[in-house]
Every structure is written in C-alpha cells, then in structure tokens.
C-alpha cells in the first residue's frame, strides 16, 4: 500500500470499513461529521449497514442492539453528543460485549465550540457512563495512529469483550496527513457463543445488565475488575522520546503530545535536556513507567488542551517523587511549542 493524504475523521471511517465494520449508527456533529459522511456513502456501497439515528441516544442504543448480535459495529460523536451516549456506553460495558465508540473532542463544557479540545479526559477515562468500570481509551496523535488504533480498537474490544473508546481532539479529526490504510479485511461472519442470533437448536441466550441481587451484582463487578487488571497489565501503551538523559519530562497525549514533541526539539536545540512521554492509552495509564521516570528527572510538565485532567493521573503515578507542573490551553486554543518551551524554562528556574 502507498500513503494517501487523509483527514483524520475519514481515515478512521475507512480504517473501520477495512477492519470489517458491519454496521454504523451515528448523528451529525462537528468536528466528527466527515466520519459519518464517509460511511454514509461507503457502507451501502459494500452492502453494509449505515443508519443516521434521530439522536446520539438512539445511535448508541442501536449500537447496543447491533453489538448484541456479535457484529462489528461502531458509532462516533463529539463531546456534547458523547455526553448523550453515556447511558448506552454504560449498558454496553455492563453487558460484557465488545464495542467501539469514537469521541472527537471539542471545546466545552456545554455547547462550547467546535474547536479542538481534550476536555473529555475525565469523562472517557473515569467510566464513560454511570457505574463502576473503565473503558479502554486510545488516544491517537496522528492520522496514521488514528487508523492503527481503529483496527486495534476492534481487536481489543473483541479480545476482552470490553468497551473501547477512541478519544481524539478535533485537530486530529480535521487534519490531513499522509497515512497508509490497512488492507481490506472480510467481514467476520462467525458469531460468538453469546450473540443473539435466535435460539435455533440451542439454549436461549440473554444480554442483560440487570442484577437485582447484591451478591450477583458484586460478582459481576469483581469479574469486570479482574478483566480490567488483565487489560491494564497487557495493554498499556505509550511512546517515549529522548527520555534517556532527560532532566525534565513532558507528558502529553493526542495533539498536545505531538506539539510537546516540537517543544522537546526546541528545548534540545537550546541545550535543555527535555524528554517526552506520550500516553497512547489514557486507560490503562502508563503509571508505572511514569513513576520510574519521576525518579530520574527534576520535574514533570503535563501539557493538555484542558484545565488539567490527565494531570491527576500523572500526580497519582509520580506520587510525590518530583514536582509536577501543568501547562494547558482551553476553549479550542491549541498550545504552541514556544509556549510549552516557555513553561519548561519557567519550571527550570523554579526547580533548580
């Protein structure tokens, strides 16, 4: 395959098609609409299911139905619409069925604006819906990663029968970059042994999130927690850049992560030993590695496009070993490498 110039939203849509997406349900919202539009043409062309739902509430529940049949299916939205999906996300997670949902984050809270943001970090990593669980959260920082993580999302979802959220900011969704799409995979017509396909010649099956007996509910909760532990041990992903000799460590994901990469390059040109850790999974979070690095550097600077949300996870991971500072822009403003460099220099003066 050769590289194509692809917009993040379109790349995710096409990667999902090639990963064997059988059904998509969605509702238009900027800045993710190109994803829905691409699938509105592509899915019918392939004889697959595309449906524009009447709301995000309906879309996520249509997804719940399609996932219950064992089909590869997904939905996508942006922050306000993603809020409306919280109900269905929780049900899907509680039902132990694989699901993939894309959140192209925009400025908030409220209607906010349509510009890039990372304001949904708490929402996607803490549970994405009510109850007591965490989804796997993948945070791409380039169009290529958006493609790779889309394919990975379906595989992880099915391997663990768990909810996977691809959380990107509007910048990655709207950006075009050269990237390579995966080869076309056939739809997997095999249906797992829990799928609702009609009880033909076999005992009936139930997909439910209802456990009225406390003991039964707790057993389910324990099972979920055991699964999360395995996921956390096996699926934590991150990228490091120039951390070996770093005196200062930047931590950022998605767009903020790649812009921090530029700041590292600037800092190195100025003779400052700065490194970067860019989490690719926001949950599970690379806490152990951060804890290690915290023993090596003089300070950490967390960079986000919000008021400081991953900051909490970094502080928990660092656990007081070293000072953790924060630089963030909000409202849809994208931080610039120069600003981050300034924050590093300030930290250097304060932490010597």
């Amino acid at each position: 395959m050769t590289k194509q110039l692809l917009k993040g939203n379109v790349a995710i849509a096409e990667a999902a098609v090639r990963a064997g997406l059988e059904a998509y349900f969605g509702y238009p919202i900027t800045p993710q609409t190109e994803l829905l539009e691409h699938l509105s043409a592509r899915m019918p062309e392939l004889g697959r299911v595309f449906l524009q739902a009447e709301s995000e509430v309906a879309a996520i529940n249509m997804l719940y139905g399609a996932l219950s049949t064992g089909a590869r299916a997904m939905t996508s939205s942006s922050s306000p619409g993603f809020s409306l999906m919280q109900e269905g996300l929780s049900y899907i997670a509680a039902s132990d069925i694989p699901g993939v949902v894309v959140d192209v984050m925009r400025g908030g809270p409220g209607l906010g604006n349509i510009l890039p943001s990372q304001g949904d970090y708490f929402q996607v990593t803490r549970s994405a819906g009510h109850g007591d669980y965490r989804p796997i959260v993948l945070a791409p920082a380039s169009v290529q990663e958006a493609i790779d993580f889309t394919v990975l999302a379906f595989d992880l979802a099915e391997q663990y029968r768990h909810l996977v959220i691809i959380a990107l900011d509007g910048l990655i969704g709207q950006m075009m970059e050269p990237a390579e799409l995966p080869p076309m995979r056939d739809i997997n017509t095999h249906r797992p042994d829990w799928a609702l396909t009609g009880a033909e010649g076999r005992p009936k099956r139930m997909i439910s999130s209802l456990y009225l007996q406390a003991e039964a509910q707790e057993a389910v909760n324990r099972r979920t927690q055991a699964r999360l532990k395995i996921i956390s041990e096996n699926e934590t992903r991150w990228i490091e850049y120039m951390t070996d000799d770093a005196d200062y460590l930047l931590v950022g994901y998605g767009s903020a992560g790649r812009i921090a990469y530029s700041a590292v390059q600037s800092a190195r040109r100025d003779g400052l030993k700065v490194g970067l850790l860019r989490p690719q999974t926001l949950w599970p979070f690379p806490s152990e590695r951060l804890h290690e690095l915290a023993g090596q550097v003089r300070g950490c600077l967390v960079v986000e496009m919000n008021a400081g949300q991953m900051l909490d996870d970094v502080r928990l991971a660092v656990n007081g070993r070293v000072a953790v500072d924060f630089f963030g822009r909000m409202g849809g403003i994208v931080p610039m490498p120069d600003e981050i460099l300034g924050a590093i220099q300030q930290m250097q003066h304060e932490r010597i």
Binding site: L5, V334, M336
Partner: protein, 195 residues
C-alpha cells in the same frame, strides 16, 4: 526523494470560496509525493461560509510535531482581513506573498521578504478569478522553492478530482504565470535559489 533539510509552516488565508483549502491540499499532496512529511489543517467552522478561511500546511524533512505555528514561515495572503490577521504573525525573516489585486496595504516590517502579485488580475487573464490561488502558489514556490513547480503540476495530475480535471491546464498555466511574475518583478529575491 526529499533530501534537503527543510521545515516550513505555511498559512494560506483568504475568503471562503477563494480555493484556500484546495491550494493548501495541493501543496500537501505534492509534498507527500515528493517524500516529505506534511500536515494540512483547516480553520473549520461557521466562518468557513463566506467569511475568512485559512489553512496551515507544514512541510518538513522530519516527522512533524506541531501542525500549526504561532509564527508561520510563510503566509499567502488572499484578502485584506487576512493581511491584518497574519502579516504581524509571520516570523522575522519569513515570507509574505500578497494578492495585490485585493490588498493595497504595505507591510512596515523590514524583516520580511514580501512578494506582491496581482494574482486575481493575472488569474482573470488566464481564464478565471478562481485561479488566484494557483497564481499565488506559483509565486510563493518561486521565492521559497521547497518544491519545484513541476511537483505541483504532477500533484494536480495525480490528485485533482475527476469533476475538476477540465481546469487542469488552466491551473498549470496559472502556477507558471505566478512564477513568471515574481521572476520579473522580484529578481533580488531569487539570487539564492537553484531553480
């Protein structure tokens, strides 16, 4: 393929409808085909309809971190509001390419290279005002030759959507006319170039 060490952040800014997004994408396609790393991001949102529109293209010989820049290296200015917005932001030593058909203002900044091209007028002469974007890109690449204009021509051939292919020859002509104008009017800016 690309061997020169380059890193340029270029902003294209004008009215919605002036082909800002397209011309930025065209440069991005050409850069990709030439083996460079490249990013393209649009300003997106309500202002796209009739208001100002801009897009950022970063072309680099190395992997690209920030796909935007507070102080771009190059600005292609299609109209007056875009001049007001981006002229102060281009970094010292950077390049300002101005559509003088629509922008009378002169920059007071001495640290900038400035190329003024009556791009809309030239485009009309070539056949359509809609070719203003190609005239300005041709002019820009003549002063800042991160890619040869032939690479843009090839990208047009390779990536122009089918329904617009009838404008192919006119676009190639417009690119060349923009380049010619600069070679004639701004020879002092060309001395370091290898084209």
């Amino acid at each position: 393929m690309a061997s020169d060490q380059i890193h340029k952040a270029i902003v294209f800014a004008g009215f919605g409808g002036q082909g800002i997004m397209f011309i930025g994408q065209l440069l991005a396609y050409a850069a990709m085909d030439h083996g460079y790393h490249v990013t393209w991001i649009p300003s997106y949102g309500p202002e796209m309809r009739g208001g100002t529109a801009n897009c950022f293209v970063v072309v680099s010989s190395d992997p690209i971190g920030a796909p935007v820049a507070a102080y771009p290296d190059v600005a292609l200015i299609f109209n007056r509001p875009s001049f007001d917005k981006f002229e102060p932001l281009v970094r010292d030593g950077g390049l300002l390419v101005v559509n003088s058909s629509l922008v009378e203002q002169q920059t007071a900044r001495e640290a900038l290279d400035v190329v003024r091209v009556p791009a809309t007028k030239i485009a009309s002469a070539v056949g359509s005002e809609r070719l203003t974007n190609a005239v300005l890109l041709g002019a820009m690449l003549t002063v800042e030759p991160i890619l040869p204009i032939t690479a843009i021509n090839a990208a047009l051939q390779a990536h122009m959507p089918a329904h617009r292919r009838d404008a192919l020859a006119a676009n190639i002509d417009a690119l060349e006319r923009g380049s010619q104008h600069v070679r004639k009017q701004n020879p002092e800016l060309l001395n370091s170039l290898s084209i």
